[in-house]
């Protein structure tokens, strides 16, 4: 109705599969024209969120809306495109045929040539799906998602299994498409991917939203250092030091994920004069992200 009405909305949504709780009381508004990344480890509830918004799964409680309607309505499905994780796509159809078929589902699809260009499939139109490489297959799934010229695009782990090169080149394709004011919900477990593509990052773990903000805000929260050392301090003592967000043990050495290395190191050396093998290093984004999910869990 208005420009600010969300394209997609979850209101107090919980979803259980038998006894497994996939989502707990999640509320989320996705504004029009915003690229949102749903970031979280495997099993966090990312794919469940996408399935709910696509009308492929029903919430156990709460409500799900797409353009203010039931996501199962054909009218709302005509305005979306979805790239899902698929184990097997019919292999005997050619790229051109797959795209022609999906274009036929939509009232005003993109021209086929524009679809090939936007997905980087030029020259592959006549290939059978079964003869494509892994990266090319993902591009076809991307093409199927965008061929209806959708207002909102869902990308569920679009670059899973890609090497770095292929991932970066695929990001270009996604950027080219979303720069035209589309709404996008992207799921990923790569912070780097969320950072590269999204205006807003929603971190999800164990079915709950644990952080929500711009890329800069999220990165600030997960920045930190790793301290390795051999110490006689117990895990409880270590966790009690201000600035320690996580403690792990690796072959008898303690590994601390900390916000500020200097203050924690000072505290460590002061509390344990036998401390040895001290090592301070930067942390990988993945670890930083784990630290964030762990600290929230403990809280």
């Amino acid at each position: 109705m208005t420009a600010t009405a969300p394209a997609a909305r979850l209101t107090s949504v919980s979803k259980s599969y038998h006894d497994n709780v996939a989502l707990r009381d999640v509320s989320l508004d996705i504004g029009p024209g915003v690229v949102v990344a749903l970031l979280g480890p495997n099993g966090a509830g990312k794919t469940t969120t996408v399935k709910l918004l696509l009308g492929l799964a029903a919430p156990t409680s709460g409500s799900v809306e797409l353009f203010g309607q039931d996501p199962r309505n054909t009218a709302s499905r005509r305005r979306i495109g979805a790239m899902l994780q698929v184990a097997k796509v019919p292999e005997t159809l050619r790229v051109r045929e797959h795209i022609d078929l999906f274009r036929s589902y939509y009232p005003s699809p993109m021209a086929a040539a524009d679809v090939y260009a936007a997905a980087g499939l030029e020259g592959l139109e006549g290939r059978k799906f079964g003869d494509l490489s892994g990266g090319q297959r993902q591009r076809v799934l991307f093409a199927l998602a965008i061929c209806g010229d959708p207002d909102m695009l869902f990308l569920d782990e679009p670059t899973l299994g890609f090497d770095v090169e292929a991932r970066r080149s695929f990001w270009e394709q996604i950027r080219g498409f979303v720069s035209r004011g589309r709404t996008v919900l992207l799921t990923t477990h790569y912070l780097e991917e969320a950072d590269a593509l999204a205006d807003r990052i929603v971190v999800i773990d164990h079915g709950s939203v644990i952080a929500d903000g711009t890329s800069a805000q999220i990165k600030q929260r997960v920045s930190g250092r790793r301290i390795r050392c051999t110490t006689r301090l117990s895990e409880v003592d270590l966790r009690a030091i201000p600035g320690v967000t996580d403690v792990r043990y690796d072959r008898g050495n303690a590994e601390l994920i900390v916000a500020h290395a200097e203050s924690v190191t000072r505290e460590l050396l002061w509390s344990d004069e036998t401390l040895s093998n001290l090592e301070v290093s930067g942390i990988q984004l993945e670890e930083a992200f784990l630290a964030l999910t762990h600290s929230k869990e403990a809280a």
């Binding site: 698929v86 097997k88 019919p90 022609d100 078929l101 260009a117 980087g120 080219g176």
Partner: protein
């Protein structure tokens, strides 16, 4: 943000916003379903090749009539034709649905605006089209090598009976497709298909089976398709045809109901 290739988004006039012609969606879906199936050699060779091979072997070569009597080659044309079209329904449709459902492809299609009915209709029509192709090939083999001679009306009646008679087996395939997992569907179909065809008298006439199995045959859907086909070629009395048609319709409805319940149950796992 930088971008490589940016075609302009389509300008959408009100006229363009109207729904795509639903007939066109059905036709396109069916066209690509047929192409998709016809290009799978692992599907076409057994489903088209085996019935023809069995027919040549057991209907033409082994009876060894040498053209003097074409009773066996006519009889077996009807029963192996039934065997063939049933196989297409159970494998192309049944196993196909189980695999596409279990491996996530159906979810991609369901998330699109494709009407679900177009998906099912395309599967049914594809089964019937491949069924016609099989029957035309078998009739050609029967006429040329088996010296089957019938009036044109009976040839036509045979192809029509076998093709339309495949519809209840499409429903059976659909039920299996929604009850079985993607990895177990083919095994389940094999376990059902061959014994059912044998007990229904499609390999050897039901009258030649042990007596206690003969009563069992009437309860099996392929028996009725085999008999209907024998009616069409003039071996069975035409007066029995209506009973077999009624039985096939009954089985068709039963399998449709089972398929529908299984479909709803599957939706219930996700939606319900």
């Amino acid at each position: 943000m930088s971008s490589s290739v940016i075609p302009a988004p389509n300008s959408r006039s009100v006229a363009q916003q109207r729904a795509p012609s639903s007939l066109r969606v059905y036709v396109t879906e069916t066209k690509y379903e047929i192409i998709k199936q016809m290009r799978i050699p692992a599907f076409m060779i057994p489903t088209i090749g085996f019935p023809i091979m069995f027919y040549v072997l057991f209907g033409i070569v082994m009876p060894g009539n040498g053209g003097t009597s074409h009773y066996a080659s006519t009889y077996m044309l009807a029963t192996y034709g039934a065997f063939g079209v049933i196989g297409i329904a159970l494998f192309a449709l049944g196993v196909g649905v189980a695999v596409e459902r279990g491996q996530g492809w159906l979810a991609v299609k369901r998330a699109s605006p494709m009407p679900v009915s177009a998906y099912f209709a395309a599967k049914y029509v594809t089964t019937l089209v491949i069924g016609v192709v099989l029957m035309l090939l078998m009739c050609a083999v029967g006429a040329v090598f088996g010296h089957v001679r019938m009036p044109m009306s009976q040839w036509l009646l045979l192809v029509v009976a076998e093709t339309l008679g495949a519809i209840p087996f499409c429903a059976m395939g659909l039920a299996i497709g929604y009850l079985a997992g993607p990895n177990s569907a083919a095994a389940i179909v094999n376990v059902i298909y061959l014994p059912m065809a044998f007990l229904s008298g499609l390999f050897i006439p039901a009258e030649m089976l042990p007596r206690f199995l003969q009563g069992f045959a009437v309860a099996l859907p392929p028996y009725h398709l085999g008999r209907l086909a024998l009616d069409a070629v003039g071996i069975e009395p035409a007066s029995h045809a209506l009973g077999h048609i009624a039985a096939l319709i009954g089985f068709g409805l039963l399998f449709t109901i089972i398929a529908f319940i299984a479909y709803r149950r599957d939706e219930g796992k996700t939606y319900g």
